[in-house]
Symmetry: C2
Subunit: 318 residues, 2 copies
């Protein structure tokens, strides 16, 4: 990336920002250096910008929710960026017409920047690419960054480690509590929203989630502890969304006060994960480039050396 | 892993096999060496064993389909192993009672071995762990290995690179063709099944999938080319399943004849990906261990050095 493109992007040029993000998404090498030079505010200050993760199974209504949250943030005068890492997101192009139109209403608003990130082509490096884009958005002065990822898949869920607050959106159809737990959604959730609450099973799911949250609480957890709230709502009809939005804000308030140590710990874990992501994807890229015209590549492809032996051979020669 | 556990596993001791798989899933280091010493048949011979990938969005009915396919394979006298890498799979424990009972019917059959693999805890290494388990099942003499993964998420989809034939199960509710394409499902599909075909939209989805398959075919593709078939079915009522099963067998016949070069190419790509997975996850594990008690770890966690600078520092010191 040329220095000027990068400078224009963080100085508020939308087209430059979009192009810079495409370069990151494509894994263009120059971008790494430019973004690596940033000192993101979010690295040290909770909620600056407020990075809100929205995740859950496909069809849970995450994008409808995101639209509602954009509208509320805009009403507060916040500049909002939405980053969709979700093939089922209308922001990524898989929209029914109604969603598209709602999204486009925001897209014409200069205070809203919406972009999708491909979740393919980043083998093992999705959270790295997303982290770089979030750093760039941070440097570009957005007040709120909404990260929408599909809540299935390890790479997609690990992206939630970048968020200050994670909203998990479920529906009665998206499965029971056991599935939610096995998918790893309980581990990332700060707030649960049971969407499409007019459908059968919504109240049962809410009760079971509350029970699960209660069971997951440490013994003797007291006043300073965050209890994951569970709200029912209908995002499409804009019912119950205010309560969910307030719960997210309450979590932000918590990480700025009693939850500061927990946030620091999460941030520290995230930094370690980001470091390991960089190490792993650097090693992958280095190996891929280095073996390109080598006899080792031919032997690997022909199966005359297995992956482990090949890695050992490459490890001793590199 | 002790040599004896490994030997018992490949000699047909079920409990030893289950324990060996748990060790692989846990990333126990000794296992790597034992499995790395195997010469899997599937590496060089299409369909030996027949590794069938079953993928698609949560709720598409993949597990019901898998159950139907187990029953047919057992009727042919095949020994079947099922490996579920899918938090929403009843094989992984997220079952409604009916599914569980059907599954347990097979579980008491000594010709069927069912195991789930956690998709968490393998950051960037899911396909590596799955590949090792498939190698172990291969060595243990199963005729058919069914790999069930949720068709959302890059790591989960890349697991499909291990399969000879990939069946993508969709439903009218699971989204339109654009979403299927964006999720990367078209790229991995050898056979499409539109399940729950009694629901509205099934025929439209089938037609659009056929159109998409047609558009994706290379110019002038002729007799030796594989055209991805699209079938409608109701796995729950066991309707149309035979046609889907036949289509999977036809694809196996194809990779053994006209499609042999395409299969070789896919296998070669898979071997290269496996090599890069091993390189990346080795680098990650090495870095994680090496920095454990170092000042670098403290500086990374405190944010006084960013991920890129830390990786560069680690790279020059390692």
């Amino acid at each position: 990336m040329s220095d000027s493109l990068f400078t224009e992007a963080i100085n508020g040029d939308r087209r430059a920002l979009a192009r810079a993000m495409t370069r990151i998404d494509d894994g263009a090498s120059g971008v790494l250096d430019a973004v690596a030079g940033l000192e993101p505010r979010r690295a040290t200050t909770p909620g600056a910008p407020f990075v809100l993760g929205v995740t859950g199974p496909p069809g849970a209504g995450k994008s409808t929710f995101t639209n509602r949250l954009i509208a509320r943030a805009r009403a507060n005068g916040e500049r909002v960026a939405v980053l969709a890492v979700d093939p089922s997101s209308p922001f990524s192009g898989g929209a029914i017409l109604g969603d598209r139109l709602r999204m486009e209403a925001h897209a014409s608003d200069p205070g809203v920047f919406i972009r999708s990130l491909s979740s393919r082509g980043h083998l093992g490096g999705l959270s790295r690419a997303t982290g770089q884009v979030v750093d760039l958005l941070d440097a570009s002065g957005f007040d709120r960054i909404i990260l929408e990822t599909v809540g299935v898949g390890q790479s997609e869920l690990s992206v939630m480690g970048l968020a200050d607050t994670v909203l998990v959106v479920l529906t009665p159809e998206s499965g029971d509590v056991v599935q939610t737990m096995k998918a790893g959604l309980l581990e990332v959730a700060d707030v649960f929203a049971v969407n499409k609450a007019d459908r059968p099973g919504a109240d049962g799911l809410r009760r079971n989630l509350e029970l699960m949250v209660h069971l997951g609480m440490p013994e003797g957890a007291g006043d300073g502890h965050w209890t994951i709230p569970v709200h029912t709502c209908c995002a499409l009809e804009d019912q119950g969304v205010d309560e969910v939005a307030s719960a997210c804000t309450a979590h932000l308030d918590w990480i700025r006060s009693d939850g500061r140590l927990a946030w620091d710990e999460r941030r520290a874990d995230g930094r370690m994960r980001a470091f390991l992501d960089v190490v792993a994807s650097d090693a992958r890229m280095r190996a891929e480039t280095a073996v390109r015209d080598s006899g080792l590549r031919d032997r690997i492809r022909a199966g005359s050396v297995n992956a482990y032996a090949a890695a050992a051979e490459w490890g001793t020669s590199s």
